[in-house]
Amino acid sequence: MSARVAVVCFPGSNCEHDVAAALRSLGAEAEIVWHTRSELDGFNAVIVPGGFAHGDYIRPGAIAQFSPVMGPVASAAAKGYPVLGICNGFQVLVETGLLPGALMRNDGLRFLCETVTCEVVSTASVLTSGSTPGETLELPINHYEGNYTCDAETLAQLVERGQIVLRYSDNPNGSTGSVAGVRNEVGNVVGLMPHPERAMEALLGSSDGRGLLAAFVDAATKLAPTHFEAA
């Protein structure tokens, strides 16, 4: 089966074309879908890309959680289909409650735009199933509110259940537990602040995002494309 990925676009999203291009370079089909869609048909994976959905008003992701498209996105997550949130997409998934925790302003109050080293922690996710635990990846970050925050009890649970997918080698933003990416309990929903879609070509700085998105596409190909709508 081939991968058909819905790339969700809100007013203010700005990474949807990069994500679609990255997916196509891996042989997947990618369709950019507008946030007012209340049904998604014929897809076997969803990516919520980066940007500033709804202008980040109130909090990043706070208004996006009520966009009609989040109904089918939550349905895809519940049915075990691969769902990935990158940067602002990660913020949308935590606000929606599909992933634990919250993302706050960076410690140091600086917008960070740099390439950082991340370490793969759990490989039991649709994003890291092709990686090795402890493997390091060079990935770009580009955010002001990427400081992953959760209480001590949640952090202990994340560690115990292996829900931390990626960790910063040198914490750039104050994230609790140096968390750069987390997964849900099942492993089909992943959110991360770094941008794998911007690390696809060594010529452009790094190709370390390629393996991550290739694993995601591979997970999608194992499931039949289907119809998603709000439960």
């Binding site: 109130i58 706070a62 009520f66 606000e95 960076n106 109050l109």
Partner: protein, 83 residues
Amino acid sequence: MKFSVHVEVRGLPGIADPEGRTIERALPALGFSGVSSVRVGKVIAFDLEAADEGAARVAAEEMCARLLSNPVIQRAEVSIHSS
């Protein structure tokens, strides 16, 4: 009745507040001493039509839980005045 609602959203105790910390460091540089525990929040004010003050409070608190604040990291305080 029409009520004027004032919602103050602040970080939960124990959650890092880098903006508050920066202000706290800046004030002594301007000669203001003795300032501590600076916390920065956000105020959201609106008018609300409701049967009575209790109903207005219930509605405002639900708005806080679902949209105006993120309970994972923030606490919202609602005050209500008849306008």
